[in-house]
């Protein structure tokens, strides 16, 4: 059965682009989660929805408009946060609702679109074209290389901005770069799980990995493993059972999270029991 599924070209494309997106989301997501930007991906995805609608409305390839809107929103939001000292969650809420509002208004102005807007909302990885697979691979590769080159600076800035500044790191520029990368990651990932489920791919594998990883590198590797496992099993099982792949991927990553919670709690109980029995003797 699995071998039969793996013989289809569209499954190859779905798996290749899915794995690339999983790696990109988990690595970028680790920095976002640790900076308490967990919902930032969600806000950017909603802004991208406005971009998709604008692209369809103006007759421009919607993904390109989504890239432009998502990156400029990410940079603009960071600037607003720095300049006006508005809290992070409030700016995320503003961006989230403004993107969605723009999309809804444009859709109603156009009297609806012939293009299936649901494929952007919930993803359609099984329909990914060869051109888009190449684009996703190129973007994921570039982003991972940039993160690898700036690894120490990014980790240091995420750990403590003030100390990073004192050590000579250009923190502001690095913050702009990270949010721009987040914008690209979100739009690239829309085809996999859709706008409404993107933040789960950014957040859940990282939160799960943080339960077990002792160091940063170990946590990043575990997160990549959990993300890739969820995507591969999600795509294969969704095809086998004719279920939407986006939802399946997210449910699998949630299942891994729940099982991890169980393992972690069992470990804590065991440790407590050992401590108590040691005290008793």
């Amino acid at each position: 059965m699995v071998f039969e599924i793996l013989s289809y070209g569209f499954i190859h494309r779905a798996l290749i682009s899915g794995i690339a997106i999983a790696l990109m989301c988990s690595v970028v997501g680790l920095f976002l989660v640790l900076r308490r930007y967990s919902l930032f991906g969600d806000a950017l995805a909603h802004a991208a929805f406005g971009g998709i609608a604008a692209g369809l409305f103006l007759g421009i390839y919607p993904i390109w408009v989504a890239f432009a809107v998502s990156i400029s929103s990410a940079l603009g939001l960071t600037k607003i946060r720095q300049k006006f000292q508005i809290s992070g969650d409030a700016t995320v809420a503003i961006l989230l609702s403004s993107g969605l509002a723009m999309g809804v208004v444009l859709i109603s102005l156009a009297g609806g679109f012939t293009v299936d807007i649901f494929s952007f909302l919930f993803g359609s990885i099984l329909l990914v074209s060869l051109e888009n697979t190449i684009l996703i691979l190129g973007l994921a590769g570039s982003i991972l290389i940039v993160i690898l080159l700036l690894y120490r600076q990014l980790v240091y800035t995420t750990f403590n901005e003030e100390q990073a500044k004192v050590s000579g790191i250009q923190v502001e520029k690095l913050n702009y770069l990270l949010v721009a990368i987040a914008g690209i990651t979100v739009v690239s990932s829309m085809q996999l799980v859709g706008i409404l489920l993107i933040s789960s791919l950014i957040v859940i594998p990282n939160v799960t990995a943080m339960m077990f990883g002792r160091g940063f590198k170990q946590t990043a590797i575990l997160s990549m493993f959990f993300a890739v496992f969820s995507v591969v099993t999600g795509i294969l099982s969704s095809y086998s059972f004719s279920i939407a792949p986006g939802g399946m991927i997210v449910l699998i990553s949630i299942a891994i999270f729940v099982v991890s919670l169980g393992i972690k709690s069992a470990g804590l109980i065991k440790n407590k029991t050992i401590v108590l029995s040691t005290r008793a003797t």
Binding site: R152, V155, N160, Q163, G168, R214, F216
Partner: protein, 241 residues
């Protein structure tokens, strides 16, 4: 040559003077204790010296160069903040935290070397969030030392740390100054510790009350009285605010 020179340093926060025409200099191998009540401007002074605050008047020179012209001096400085703020569950081992401070030219065995200096080499693979406050501060000293700095700046580093850890911390600072010839600039509320450790004292309360040899300050009843009156005044002012 003086390592650090501060001339007429004035910081004005929208009409409120945080620092008023502060002048002093620091020689190589000095162990300078900066004392002063809360709100005296100690952290503001450090923020100016570290390039974190730029809207000041006056001039700050490190190694003879105005810090507005070049940030190269930062590579010769190790900084230990009051209480480093980081996510408690941040997944980083002690080795990784110290490695964040490494420059490209540093040797890879440097991490073990600095961990030995702060007596934490056996814990290098532990998560930073699992350590006690005192142990965490020792990690941050190790991180500050990883690039062989000439100057170590510490902003009230033992706040909230138990007395046993404080003693260990002070021993480490003494060794760094006396055995490794590192110049130390250290702000503290702990007058007893400053009297024991510092070779020089700067007494700050928005303006500089005193700067000179430690014994001179601690053996001068008038200066000590002036300091306690000024601290009390500042304390009352905080209550009124």
């Amino acid at each position: 040559m003086k390592l650090v020179e501060i001339e007429n340093l004035t910081v004005d926060y929208e009409g409120i003077l945080a620092l008023d025409k502060v002048n002093f200099s620091i020689d190589s191998k000095d162990f300078l204790g900066i004392i002063g009540p809360n709100g005296a401007g100690k952290t503001t002074l450090f923020n100016c010296m570290l390039g974190l605050l730029n809207n000041y008047k006056g001039e700050i020179r490190f190694f003879g160069t105005n810090i507005r012209k070049s940030k190269q001096y930062l590579h010769q400085i190790g900084y230990v903040p009051q209480k480093p703020v980081f996510e408690k569950n941040f997944p980083a081992t002690i080795s990784e935290v110290i490695g964040m401070g490494l420059t490209k030219n540093s040797k890879s065995d440097k991490i073990d070397e600095v961990l030995q200096k702060v007596w934490l080499h056996e814990l290098s693979h532990r998560r930073i969030g699992d350590l006690s406050g005192g142990q965490q501060q020792r990690v941050f000293i190790a991180k500050a030392l990883v690039n062989d700095p000439q100057i170590l700046i510490l902003d009230e580093p033992v706040t909230g740390i138990d007395s046993q850890s404080k003693e260990l911390f002070y021993q480490i600072l003494r060794d760094l100054n006396q055995k490794e010839n590192i110049t130390i600039i250290w702000s503290s509320h702990d007058l007893d510790a400053v009297a024991k450790l510092a070779t020089k004292v700067a007494c700050l309360n928005r303006t500089l009350f005193f700067h000179g040899i430690s014994e001179e300050f601690f053996h001068n009843e008038d200066l000590l009285k002036l300091y306690s009156e000024s601290s009390m005044q500042m304390h009352m002012q905080h209550h009124d605010d």
